[in-house]
């Protein structure tokens, strides 16, 4: 299912008011702009699962809201609905059947948003802001997993106010990812824990961090048989680690690579190192995308260990990214990530979500 017709130019889908042909630094890649973007920094993006027809995108923001758009085949985006929290929304995810959206917020609660009825119910409560939320669908149970800055990982059956299970973590949860039967949580102080979710969630292994700096984002990848086999971990200093859980040869198979840095060849000036804000894997090709504080996104082939593409530089950091269920659309959000503190925050600056055709650019390179 292709998103754009081959003849239509970018921005000509009638989406943005700013559909100018001249190069704006806010959209140097000339990607499709989503209409009615949030009013503050976008913290998370997620596309609807394949069980639902069409493509729906949800985005949570620091304006305490989470918005839902329908992305049509011709590239048009239609704002559909919005829900509010009483604090900034930090993460959001879909249920496996696409009927519900779960949102996690700084107000220490998580809500279940039923899209059909447009009602949102609180389903989880923590002692601190909830940083990550994921839906787990196991053969014998389904639940929500929430990771919070109160150092706990809790699992919720949405029908009950008490968690099904609560696991203590050594530190605050900074990011997490779930691909059944595996879950990975990266915490403060460079902690890294893998959980296994069969029968019931339990801690599987604590891993020494392959990175030397603060963990920022994590994403699980799968092998050829579609089983989760490892994860990519991004740090605050321009580096991503690819780590396999049970590789045949750990020293050889696990590696890290530098990314989101400036001045590659120029050695006279110091190289600027930027934070990696999000990592996302292409559902079909297994290649990955990273987005960073430098306002660029890059596509990588981890098996061939090569870079596929780096974008032009946007005038703001890119804070979130995701692929839709079939990998045709790549969405990324341009907004301030607070990497330089509050002095560099400009509330007047507009925030954007861009959509890009991802079918071709993320095809893996042939290994030499």
């Amino acid at each position: 299912m292709s998103l754009f017709g081959t003849t239509s130019g970018f921005g000509a889908g009638g989406t943005g008011v700013f559909g100018n042909a001249t190069t704006d630094s806010h959209n140097p890649m000339k990607d499709v702009e989503v209409t009615s973007p949030p009013d503050d920094s976008i913290s998370c993006l997620a596309f609807s699962p394949p069980t639902m027809p069409g493509n729906f995108l949800i985005g949570g923001s620091w304006a305490n809201d989470v918005r839902c758009w329908e992305v049509q085949d011709n590239g048009q985006t239609v704002p559909k609905a919005q829900q509010m929290h009483t604090g900034p929304v930090l993460d959001a995810c879909w249920s496996d059947d696409g009927s519900k959206v779960f949102t996690a917020s700084c107000d220490k609660t998580a809500k279940m948003w039923d899209l059909n009825s447009n009602q949102a119910l609180q389903i989880a409560q923590h002692d601190g802001p909830i940083k990550s939320i994921h839906w787990i669908k196991a053969p014998n149970y389904s639940c929500i997993m929430t990771g919070s800055w109160d150092k706990t990982l809790k699992f919720w059956d949405t029908r009950s106010p008490n968690p099904m299970m609560s696991l203590q973590m050594p530190e605050r949860c900074y990011c997490a990812d779930v691909v059944y039967p595996m879950a990975v949580v990266a915490t403060a102080e460079r902690g890294l824990i893998v959980y296994q979710l069969e029968n019931q969630p339990s801690e599987f292994r604590r891993i020494d961090s392959p990175l030397k700096h603060q963990h920022r984002c994590v994403a699980i990848f799968k092998d050829k048989q579609n089983k989760p086999t490892g994860f990519a971990l991004g740090s605050i200093e321009g580096r991503v680690a690819i780590h396999y859980i049970n590789p045949p040869n750990p020293a050889k198979d696990n590696f890290t690579f530098k990314c989101h840095r400036s001045n590659g060849t120029n050695t006279t000036t110091p190289q600027d190192i930027y934070a990696v804000n999000a990592i996302s894997f292409h559902p079909v090709h297994g290649t990955l995308s990273t987005v960073g504080s430098d306002g660029r996104f890059s596509f990588w082939d981890k098996d061939a260990r090569t870079k596929l593409k780096t974008s032009e530089q946007l005038d703001q950091p890119i804070t979130a990214c995701c692929f839709n269920h079939n990998g045709n659309i790549f969405a990324y959000a341009s907004s301030y990530d607070w990497s330089k503190g509050h002095e560099y925050y400009n509330p007047q600056k507009k925030n954007y979500i861009f959509l890009r055709n991802a079918a071709e650019e993320l095809k893996p390179r042939n290994k030499k």
């Binding site: 002692d127 607070w338 503190g341």
Partner: protein, 493 residues
Amino acid sequence: MWYSFAWFDLYLVRLPWHCLQTFCWVLPQRGTTALKVKQLEQKDRPQLLQPSCEDITTQQVVLISTMAEGGDMEWELSKENIQPLRRGRAISVLHEALSLQQDGLSSAINQQRQAFESELRMYDGDDPLDVWDRYIKWTEQTFPQGGKESNLATLLERAVTRFTEEKKYHDDPRYVELWIKFAENCPEPLDIFRYMQAQGIGVTQASLYIAWSEEYENQGNCRKADLVYQEGFKKCAEPHDKLLHFHKALQARVSRQVMMNVEEEDSDDEPKQPERVSLAELKHRGKKKAIAPINRTGSAIRSISGGMQSHSAPVLGNASNSRLVVFDENKTQSAGPSEPKLEAWAAPPTSRAKENERNPEKWCGVKVPQKSKFGHTVMAPPPPKPTFQPFVEESDQPPTMTPCKINPAVNTVLSARKPHREETPLKRLQEHHQQQKEAESGKLQEQSTYCKELLLSGATEFCFEELRAERYFKKVTPEVRGQKDQACASTSN
């Protein structure tokens, strides 16, 4: 004649103006009522209840009433784990802290700590030291056992190094107090005090000289202890009366000690039973095998080593060792009056050997021990060529392996283990200076583009979102009270 200080059951105080070097527990017998404790205490140790001890007298009343009620004996079980504080502990806080800690770190403590951490980062007033000071005091009170959970050592270290350059704090009694606490946590407090003197921190504060002299006294070096006070007088340390008072107390102790020794010698009518000395080397008997003698006193002793007697030597020895380690030619020569070796201090000495902590550091080549022709592990060999093709960015230069400092092919110095880069505050500070120098000369290879100081300024790290969330919470509370409607109107599309 030296009084060992009785620790009241619930109230643990180490009073600096007593000559105390040892504390002993006054353990009531099981079933003893509180009254008995008081009696014992008053009868035997009248001098201890001095007027300036008002804290104890009031607290004593409180604790006695608690005990008399047969209140919970939780603290009975934990009292040995409670670290003494100079100022003493507030009973209520101590009780609370102990009961809370039964269940691990409670969320109330977590929240309070989080509040301090965020205050550290959000503070934009004139007196950042105040936040650190309150944070550290709260930590001390809340974590009676000290220990790793409290992060106290880290906090102290961060606090002192953060303000080392700030001249305005050098004579601030709070700051000096922090340094003294930090010194107490270090294996070599004397080094810290010398460093302070070299840097001009606290040289006009009596508390520095008092703590310093106490340390000398603890090590048995009364002469140096006295010299420190002389130094303090020379520097007109304030408050002068306090310094005088403590100095007099020291002199009294020393003279008593001397008298005691003289008395003992005089009153030696009967030959004392020879006593065994600990850690003494004994002459062995037996011709072929060395067998320990049965009588281990008197002539059987070959030499006495260990114990208190070799303290004066290492004190100087350490100083000279440190001089070699920390010499930094770029550091301005400070006016160290009495000891010229102070000029060489570039950074505070080691607070502790941090084996269990790893800070982010440059990657060193992984080395696998290689076997020599004799089958022994010889040396750290060159990093093996990676069997995979390391990832190379298109526009980048070829990835460099961190250069191996030792060329193993040439260097025949054997080391089975990779040279361990000891992470000490000393090294960290030196590196920091190094980086600053490099940044000035433009030699710095990489620089991070995010607000590192903000993220790392407290005891634990923050992420961007936490920083932002703190600011959001700080902002939102006044808004919610009065301006809710306005906020809604402005954010709606």
